[in-house]
Amino acid sequence: AQSVTQLDSQVPVFEEAPVELRCNYSSSVSVYLFWYVQYPNQGLQLLLKYLSGSTLVKGINGFEAEFNKSQTSFHLRKPSVHISDTAEYFCAVSEGEGGSEKLVFGKGTKLTVNP
């Protein structure tokens, strides 16, 4: 069985500051990794995904994440945040090719960008 831990439930930052949202996972099989964002009153939107290949993945809105297999981490980063990045961010994992496609989510991190 897989699990995802998002170490920070809330992250406040100032506009234009860098941010890192942490995600660790556990799994006995190979995995695919995802970050989703949820803006108020909206559904979950995919920011980026890691399936295979390069461990540095670039997504939408200037976000990127790095897959670290040895540390079982998939931290999300942005070098300079905007007010509009205020949202809740969810890390998720699924089994790799041929496995279950259900997404297992972390509890989410609320990012608040202050002026």
Binding site: G43, L44, L103
Partner: protein, 114 residues
Amino acid sequence: EPEVTQTPSHQVTQMGQEVILRCVPISNHLYFYWYRQILGQKVEFLVSFYNNEISEKSEIFDDQFSVERPDGSNFTLKIRSTKLEDSAMYFCASRKRGLYNEQFFGPGTRLTVL
């Protein structure tokens, strides 16, 4: 841009009543999912559906739950006899065929059981 829609946005019901949550997936998608999020907890997988049958379900998805694709556009989740602990946000998702394609999520239905 096509999107997954869900109705209603908020449903209030009495314990023991049946509810049907409705979803319209993106039109060329073939795989459908329901997830739920109890307030303050993680988003949890309930069920996946493909080719008019359940392909996977979680422990949560017991006999009180059922899913259906009654026509070519809707995908429904029915809870036969709601319990207080069914109160949650329910998300529908869909994806198209492919090696691994993104699951597109709807905005959710907030179910409140009194």
